[in-house]
């Protein structure tokens, strides 16, 4: 279910609202009082050094990591009691760090897996065809096992699989990892195109700060599990002090 492309900014409030989120693994929390909003059709980059808590943030949003306190509200609904396997039905797709291609399954099986939960079988089939159109490289390798794919092909597969659910919010964890700059640029450009076409909102975790800020509307900077800055992508690009302090370029 995509947001109506004719009125992508229909809802003025946030699609995703995170309030005072504290979460982690066991005793000591990794995230502390994280607070931000993602509006429909917005691309928000999540930046920060290794270990800052970017992956943990995405995992907390999709329920893989339990929140200690705080609220995660998606489209007006508190996600506290929503199970991980229900998130995709709400319109949240999470492409995890390392892409999450099921290497034992074929390309086609991986993609179909992304649409199994959907009641609208006809649209799931249509979405599958659309993904093959979007990534012709995958169409040629339908019957190949996941472990036979290159890094770029895996990224296309993971992204394509997420799109089959026609999400409203895409959580993307380091899509550029191990990819050539040209392929990274293609994938990021694709995000913008999808946003423009379907109103998709994206929370984009990236090590590659330059490319992330080139496609994002806004960026939030995490340091030691806290949001230290949140600003428009343009301002973040120009903020030399911040770049030196947290982003290392």
């Amino acid at each position: 279910m995509a947001v109506n492309p004719d009125e992508p900014y229909r809802k003025q409030s946030g699609l995703l609202e995170v309030e005072d989120l504290t979460a982690g693994y066991g005793a000591a929390p990794v995230l502390h009082d994280v607070r931000f909003t993602v509006r429909p059709g917005q691309i928000v980059a999540v930046l920060g050094a290794n270990g800052a808590g970017k992956t943990t943030l995405l995992r907390a949003l999709s329920g893989l990591v339990e929140a200690d306190h705080g609220r995660i509200v998606f489209d007006g609904e508190d996600l506290r009691d929503v199970k991980v396997e229900q998130m995709v039905r709400r319109g949240i797709a999470h492409v995890p760090e390392g892409r999450g291609v099921v290497t034992e399954l074929t390309v086609d099986e991986n993609l179909r897996l992304g649409g199994l939960w959907r009641r609208d079988r006809a649209d799931a089939a249509r979405a599958l065809d659309e993904v093959y159109d979007l990534f012709p490289a995958l169409a040629q390798r339908r019957a190949s096992a996941g472990h036979q794919l290159s890094g770029g092909e895996r990224q296309m597969l993971a992204l394509g699989r997420a799109l089959i659910g026609r999400p409203r919010l895409l959580l993307l964890d380091e899509p550029s990892l191990g990819l050539a700059p040209r392929i990274t640029a293609q994938i990021l450009a694709l995000l913008r195109e999808l946003r423009d076409r379907t109103g998709l909102a994206v929370l984009l975790v990236e090590q590659n700060v330059r490319s992330a800020l080139s496609v994002a509307d806004e960026g939030i900077v995490l340091s030691l599990g806290r949001v230290v800055t949140r600003n428009s992508a343009a301002d973040l690009r120009d903020d030399a002090d911040l770049r030196h302090a947290y982003l290392g370029f």
Partner: protein, 292 residues
Amino acid sequence: MDRFFYLTFDGLSRGAVYAAFALALVLIWRAARIVNFAQGAMAVAAVYVAYSVTGATGSYWLGFAAALVFGLLLGIAVEKAVMRFVDHSSPLNGVVVALGLVLITQGVLGMVYGNEYRPVTTPFRRDAFDVGGIALLSRYDVFVFAAVGAVVVALTLLFTRTAAGLRMRAAAFAPDVSRLLGVPVGGMLTLGWALAAAVGSLAGMLVVPTELGLHPTAMDVVFVSAFTAAVVGGLDSPIGAVTGGLIVGLLLSYVSGYLGATVAPMAVLLLLVVVLLGRPGGLFSSSKARLA
């Protein structure tokens, strides 16, 4: 030469049962990374249910159906009530819990049914008919081949052609990713246990009439052979389980035919040790997919 043919067919028919039982082990291993050492005891419990139902109704087939249904339910119960709570930080935990289940099951069966061997009925005659002048196969053997063949075909179709099969495979290989894609991983695990226990019950129904009879420990020796079959096949591979089952069946048959029945169990253990030392991944382990 006649004797060789006879032993071959005998081995294949034993092997078919080991194959089914090994398949049950593989189903659970794939779903939960647990070797279900309680599989034998659970299967015996199902055969006792069949024994009671057949005794009460006079119908073998009602008993047969009851065993499969009971197996299914027992699998669900064991997963939901026990195995779900096992801490997976050490693989030994699952083994210890399963062995505990064996003791409990055998104890309860002993209390309810007593510890003597009970004769069980078969739906078909077990004396071999002649094929080209050699007594090779009984009608019961044909029934065993047909039943195991049907299970193999049904499981293959389930895993390769259905949405539930795709979900089960994905949940087993990549649980977190599967949950993110909307797969109820816990439910798939329960389904895996249910299917495995039903297949194990079928194997029990097929093998008990060919052994000494029904007894709470009737499947203990069969379990060793089936476990060896599953290990030979690589634990992860259904095709491996079937092939492993046939290999173990043939081995048992040839060794007891040519060297004597007392040597046969040692031959199985020897095979187990050789495979574990030589190819711990099994003869059919699918290459390094997980590492990729």
